[in-house]
């Protein structure tokens, strides 16, 4: 069992607490904690719940803006989208559970993030899943991929929330520590916005949903806040951690969503909080701490799945599909009746109490746990929720940075076989995406696989609106490995570029920072640099950061993953009545490149890493002001089409991973039409990846060029569409059918090769 002591391992260490942290707890309480209390601190002071290593750095992010209704720190960030509608968004990781039990790990990741969204009063409308696996050349990767994808599909499809995109990245650094991130967006009538705050002495704490079992005990501390050990670092060797993963029930969650949204519509709850990582320990202490009140909890009243559970197990269990609502005694009968309609259990397990007052007269809400007729635990709620120690861990720049930067892969590409390289980089993730329901709610205008997803801003119970909502998740560990600061800034830009292809104006970002062991100074340096890069780009582009998640200890066998900052970008399309131009071009159009050429640097590019097997070099320089102008020009042109006005574009695609040649190939494949173009760049320039370049097609290229000139954006005619082959004069001549065949089968053949 996770929390047993032995002569050589005292209980606090078995719970993931250091000796110093134990001393802090003794000083808060003025006495030794009992084992139950120690278990509460073990959960709440874990890295996963407390952000104790990252919090001092996260303060450097810009978090405010005109449209921000709720910033970081709540269950989800919320912006005002206009027309009386607010949008709630959050991103999380479920990396370690998915490494151990891929189906349930991924499934409960979806379930958890949905609860964060409907806790705010929003109906979850879409999910995106950025996934990172090792190279698919062994059976274990195949097991992980199939398990994770079917977990997302099995849970998301049944719970009735469409999965509209994500990312699929393969890199050896994830071989034993896959990353499973999940983003959820929901919408609500502005007036329904609720916060997770307990208030009103005598109000009742009502537990909604599933009974509490022994699943997921220690999930946040034992599992999420430590690396995988094992001799070769393989997660399979940490079998003893399997009981710390949870098991999901999408049917329970679906009824819980409907019941909670109905309770909020009827204004029957004062505050509400989901129970995820940290379970009831987290839910009760956060509700009380935010309201600066106390809470009495009757542990015996909590419905259980099995007999013989100890109070510490009940309080720290991460059993899924549970919510904790604060309701007035008068509303209780209606709450129980409404929950009964949806077959959701509702049990009074506690009540809000007056806070004590300290010597300075400040309120100190006490969390008191009762069992067997006695008080079995009593701690200040805020000491659990807000007062974990903050660490300013040492930072060290990796010693080999300069040496790596000097090994430039750009120098060695002029004689490569461009066709062979291009074909090796093409991979259409459709075999994954077609397993996700991406259409529910009749909102999905552009689904998975394009630059960004585009949805109508509509849903049950929302005021009418003709706006659209655009979403993208982006990350680049290849860039991150070379320069986490520049990489994260460029990743923010990449998200904005993707949104521009749907005609959207970016409004806010959320982030999921997946890094290695924070006790390694190089990892802390990467984290700090990455946060600075995000802050730089968000300030330059006027984007508030309204939520985030930090996942540390992504290591195994002592080896850390490459820095993986996932940025979720949310934007709005003012008027969405027609499908905007897609990635696929048509016959008889002119192909143009908008945006300044880059310097052809290949450090961190997909070509260098995946084809040349060179992970060194220097990252491109990105001028954010120039970038913003180009993205705004493209977004404006696309928005004309979306609004149903006559536009200039036949197709549009952002130059991203794989560079210009991959983007051209994807446009040819999507349109099933060839083209003859003169790229005007060297081989390195075909594959370099700096964001801020867009390929568009038009039957009125002069008008496109004129608009670009007015905006001050470089614009170049590359050639014309037509025929059955993609011809890059003097560089490449490949049949579109060959490109399409390779792209469509790449994923399945890679997985099949694993046997």
């Amino acid at each position: 069992m996770a929390a047993s002591s032995s002569p050589d391992q005292p209980l606090h260490r078995a719970l993931g607490l250091t000796d110093t942290e134990l001393e802090d707890i003794i000083s808060v309480l003025g006495r030794e904690p009992n084992p139950l209390e120690l278990a509460l601190y073990g959960v709440m002071w874990s890295e996963h719940c407390s952000y104790k290593s990252s919090r001092i750095h996260l303060k450097r992010l810009p978090t405010t803006g005109d449209k921000v209704l709720v910033g970081p720190g709540e269950n989800a960030g919320v912006i005002d989208a206009g027309d009386g509608i607010a949008i709630a968004i959050r991103i999380e990781s479920h990396n370690h559970p998915s490494a151990i039990e891929p189906y349930q790990g991924a499934a409960t990741g979806v379930g958890g993030i949905l609860r964060d969204i409907f806790t705010m009063g929003a109906r979850p409308l879409a999910v995106m899943d950025p996934l990172f696996f090792g190279t698919p050349d062994d059976a274990r990767q195949r097991w992980l991929i199939e398990g994770v994808v079917s977990g997302i599909s099995g849970y998301g499809n049944s719970v009735g929330v469409p999965t509209i995109g994500g990312e699929l990245t393969f890199d050896p650094c994830y071989q034993t520590n896959p990353l499973v991130n999940v983003l959820c967006v929901g919408a609500l009538p502005v007036e329904r916005l609720v916060l997770g705050i307990a208030s009103g002495t005598g109000n009742l704490a009502v537990l909604l949903g599933s009974a509490t079992g022994r699943d997921g005990i220690g999930g946040v501390s034992v599992l999420a806040s430590a690396g995988f050990e094992g001799e070769d670092g393989a997660a399979s060797l940490d079998e003893s951690k399997r009981p710390a993963t949870q098991v999901g029930d999408p049917y329970e969650e679906k009824r819980l969503i409907e019941a909670c949204l109905a309770l909020l519509d009827e204004k029957l709850v004062v505050g509400i909080q989901d129970l995820g990582g940290g379970g009831l320990a987290c839910g009760t202490s956060e509700l009380a701490a935010r309201g600066r009140v106390g809470m009495d909890v009757d542990v015996d009243a909590i419905p259980r799945r099995e007999p013989g559970m100890e109070p510490w197990e009940v309080m720290t269990s991460e059993s899924q599909e549970r919510m904790l609502a604060i309701v007035t005694p008068d509303s209780l009968p209606m709450v129980i009746e409404l929950c009964g309609r949806w077959e959701v259990a509702a049990t009074v397990i506690g009540r809000v109490t007056e806070p004590d007052y300290d010597e300075a007269g400040e309120p100190v809400g006490m969390l008191r746990l009762h069992a067997g007729g006695a008080v079995v635990g009593e701690v200040p709620a805020a000491s659990l929720a807000d007062e974990a120690p903050l660490y300013e861990r040492p930072l060290v720049e990796p010693a080999n940075r300069a040496a790596r930067a000097a090994i430039d892969p750009s120098a060695s590409v002029e004689d490569i076989d461009i066709a062979d390289a291009l074909l090796s980089l093409l991979l259409d993730p459709i075999p994954v995406y077609r397993q996700y329901d991406h259409q529910l709610f009749l909102n999905t205008v552009i689904g998975p696989g394009a630059d960004a997803a585009l949805l109508r801003l509509a849903g049950p119970g929302l005021p009418a609106s003709s706006r659209g909502m655009s979403l993208s998740t982006d990350s680049n560990p290849r860039w991150g490995s070379l320069d986490p600061r520049a990489a994260t800034a460029a990743t923010v830009a990449e998200g904005v570029a993707n949104l521009a292809c749907t005609g959207a104006v970016p409004e806010a970002v959320v982030n999921c920072l997946n890094f290695g062991n924070p006790e390694h100074p190089e990892v802390m340096w990467q984290l700090s640099e990455s946060i600075d890069g995000m802050a730089d780009a968000c300030r330059a582009l006027g984007l508030p950061v309204i939520g985030g998640n930090v996942s540390l200890y992504n290591e195994s066998g002592g080896s850390d993953i490459d820095p993986t900052a996932v940025i979720g970008t949310l934007g709005l399309v003012e008027h969405l009545v027609e499908r905007p131009p897609s990635v696929g071009w048509s016959e008889g159009e002119t192909v143009l490149l908008l945006g300044a050429d880059d310097a052809g640097l290949l450090g961190g590019s997909q070509l260098a890493v995946d084809y040349l097997n060179n992970r060194d070099g220097r990252l491109f320089d990105l001028d954010l002001a120039e970038f913003a102008t180009t993205a705004a020009l493209v977004a404006g042109m696309v928005a004309e089409h979306a609004a149903g006005r006559p536009g200039l574009l036949g197709s549009v695609h952002d130059v991203g991973s794989g560079g210009m040649v991959v983007a051209l190939a994807e446009m040819a494949i999507a349109g099933d039409v060839g083209a003859t173009v003169s790229t005007g760049v060297s081989t390195a320039g075909l594959f370099s990846e700096r964001p801020g370049r867009f390929l568009v097609t038009s039957t009125d290229p002069e008008a496109v060029a004129a608009q670009a000139e007015i905006a001050g954006v470089p614009c170049r005619v590359l050639g014309h569409t037509g025929g059955d082959s993609l011809v890059l004069v003097g560089q490449l001549d490949l049949a579109v059918s060959t490109l399409a065949q390779r792209s469509a089968t790449a994923l399945e053949s890679a997985l099949d090769a694993a046997g």
Binding site: S150, N157, Y251, R341, R434, Q435, Y436, L442, E578
Partner: protein, 226 residues
């Protein structure tokens, strides 16, 4: 006169709002009916929408057929009222024996959400009466258990009685005889796996589902069941 269409909601149903939205957009009036109700009230037609009724942890639809509302659905159907089961609704109608056969897991054993090309085989049902035989319709599928199967006697009966309404052009899920949708003998009860309610707007990619739902609304408006 616009048709009043009831959309049945089991716990775990998730396409009910989409069905009501599509009905309303095509000039009908959709309203939700909860599975614990025992009467339908004044309605011209019924939709059993998609989703995962009661979680579908047993066979899809196997528990939903015992829901209190199902007796009223049966009475309505037997009186000739227009009923269409979409996806999970088709599975429920099969489990309730209002339609023959069953839906198995897809060939390939994965969930499939993708466009599908359908061919109209017969117009002798409330869902296909305004279509033309041989017409091609692009309507998305979204299911794990969508592979239609039945015994060979039933299959020849379906064929001889002109009860196969829709076939897939390239059979994505391995259905017997590429069947995508069938009707009962009278043609007033239809089940299909594709989602016509997801194809009623060019903004979302296809309007072909409207051909089917307009037939249904027309039949409902003309029906005299009540």
């Amino acid at each position: 006169m616009s048709a009043s269409i009831g959309v049945i909601v089991f716990p775990g149903t998730n396409c009910e709002h989409d069905a009501v939205g599509a009905v309303d957009a095509l000039g009908g009036e959709g309203r939700l009916i909860f599975h614990t109700d025992t009467s339908l009230g004044q309605l011209d037609g019924l939709i059993l929408p998609g989703g995962f009724a009661h979680g579908d942890y047993l066979r899809p639809g196997a528990i939903a057929r015992f829901s209190p509302i199902m007796e009223a659905v049966r009475t309505f159907a037997e009186a000739g009222g227009p009923v269409v089961g979409i996806c999970n609704g088709f599975q429920v109608l099969c489990e309730a024996h209002l339609l023959p056969g069953a839906l198995q897991k897809n060939r390939g054993l994965t969930f499939l959400c993708q466009p599908s090309e359908l061919e109209v085989v017969s117009t002798s049902s409330v869902l296909t009466s305004s279509a033309t035989v041989g017409q091609r319709l692009s309507v998305p599928i979204n299911h794990f258990s969508g592979s239609y199967t039945c015994d060979l006697d039933t299959l020849s009966q379906l064929e001889s009685q002109d009860r196969i309404m829709l076939r897939y052009v390239d059979n994505p899920n391995g259905s017997i005889d590429s069947i995508a949708g069938i009707s009962n003998e009278a043609g007033n009860v239809v089940g299909l796996m594709p989602h016509p309610e997801r194809a009623v707007s060019s903004l979302l990619g296809s309007e072909d589902g409207a051909v089917l739902l307009r037939s249904f609304l027309g039949a409902a408006a003309a029906a005299t069941v009540g």
